[in-house]
Symmetry: C2
Subunit: 202 residues, 2 copies
C-alpha cells in the first residue's frame, strides 16, 4: 500500500543522502518544503541544478571560484601577501580562517589529507603545486593549517619533507588549550601539547 | 571579498531555510553535494522541482496522494474498514500509525490543530468534512489521534462537540506511561493521566 505519494518518497530518499540526515529528519525537511509555497523548493532546486555548472577551482590555490574565473580573489587581491601561504585541507577551512580577520596571506587548498585507510595518497593532493608555488611566488612562510588529527599531522610532516631545504619558514598552528576550556576537562594529548608549547610571559 | 562562489552561497542560503538547519549545517550539506558527483544534486533538484506539481490531497481523507488521484489508497482499499476513522493533525501522522500495523480503519487529516496563537481556527481545518463523513460512510467509531498537547486536546474537544449526538463512538488515544520510561522520570501530568486511565488486570 502506498502511504505517501511517489514524488514525496523520492524527495525523502534524496534528502536522506545528505550527511547526518536520517529518514525522520528527511521526512521533516520534505514536509516543511511541501507545506511552504512552491517558491522555497524551486529556489533550492535551482541552486542545486546550478551547483556543478557554476563552480570551479582556482588554478593556483585550488580554492572554490565562480566558473570561468582562473584565479581566486583571495589570491589576486593586491592587499594579500603572496609570500605567506596557509595550507588547508578543504576549501571550507578558508572560511574559518577568514573569520578570524587575522590573516592577510594567501591560501593553498590540498583537497584532503593523506589517509591510507581511505586510499588517499600524497599524489592525489595538491602538494606538488604547493612546492611549485614556493619557487614561483618566492614564498617566505608556509603555515600548515591542517587538522590536529593523525591525518593532519602526517600530511604536515609529509609536506615539510617535500619542501626540503628551500629557504622558507614552515610553521603550523599552535596546539594547546582551546579558549574557554577548563583545565580539568582537557584531554591528555591536548594538555601535553599545551605543556610542550608553553610560552614565556614577558 | 568573495570567499565562496555565488552559486555555493546561494545553495547554502537555500539549505539554511530548512527547519533546524543553521549556517554550519547548510555549509556541510552544500560541500557534501559539491564533492559528490553531479548525480546526487541533480536527483535532489529533480525531486524538488516535481514536488508541488505531483502531489495532491485525497478529496475524502485529505491524506497526500499522487496528482490526478481523487482518493487515497488508504481509503479505497476494500480491506480498510471505513466505519472506523482515525483523526490526525498532519499527513505524516498517518505513517506513524501505519507503522504499528495495528490499525485497519481509515484516516482523516485535519491539516493542523486549533491554535489561536498561530491564527488557526476550526474553520481552517477539515472538521466539517469529518462530520459529513460520519453520515456518508456510516462511521461507527472516531479515534481522535491528535497530539497530547494543549492544541491537540482542545481540537479533540471541539470535534467531540461538533459530532454532537450522532450515534458514533468517539475515543482518543490513551495517555499514560510510554514504554521503557521509569516511573521516577515521568512528569506529573503524564503520571496523573496514567492514574486516571488505570486498567484492571483480569
Amino acid at each position: 500500500m502506498q502511504v505517501l505519494p511517489p514524488a514525496l518518497e523520492k524527495l525523502i530518499d534524496a534528502l536522506g543522502n545528505l550527511p547526518g540526515v536520517g529518514p525522520r529528519t528527511a521526512e521533516r525537511y520534505a514536509y516543511y518544503l511541501l507545506k511552504s509555497d512552491g517558491h522555497k523548493s524551486a529556489e533550492l532546486s535551482d541552486a542545486l541544478s546550478q551547483l556543478h555548472k557554476n563552480i570551479s577551482y582556482c588554478k593556483k590555490t585550488f580554492a572554490l571560484v565562480e566558473e570561468g574565473m582562473e584565479l581566486s580573489d583571495l589570491y589576486t587581491d593586491p592587499a594579500r601577501n603572496k609570500q605567506i601561504v596557509a595550507v588547508v585541507a578543504e576549501p571550507f577551512d578558508i572560511i574559518a580562517l577568514e573569520k578570524t580577520h587575522n590573516f592577510s596571506g594567501t591560501y593553498h587548498v590540498l583537497g584532503g589529507l593523506i589517509s591510507p585507510i581511505d586510499g588517499i595518497g600524497p599524489e592525489q593532493l595538491h602538494i606538488e603545486e604547493l612546492v611549485a608555488r614556493i619557487d614561483e611566488d618566492k614564498v617566505e612562510e608556509i603555515i600548515l593549517a591542517t587538522n590536529a588529527s593523525v591525518e593532519g599531522e602526517s600530511t604536515a610532516l609529509y609536506i615539510r619533507k617535500q619542501i626540503g631545504d628551500r629557504n622558507v619558514k614552515v610553521s603550523r598552528l599552535a596546539r594547546g588549550l582551546p579558549i574557554g576550556l577548563d583545565l580539568e576537562y582537557a584531554d591528555q594529548i591536548t594538555l601535553s601539547r599545551a605543556l610542550e608549547g608553553r610560552q614565556l610571559l614577558s
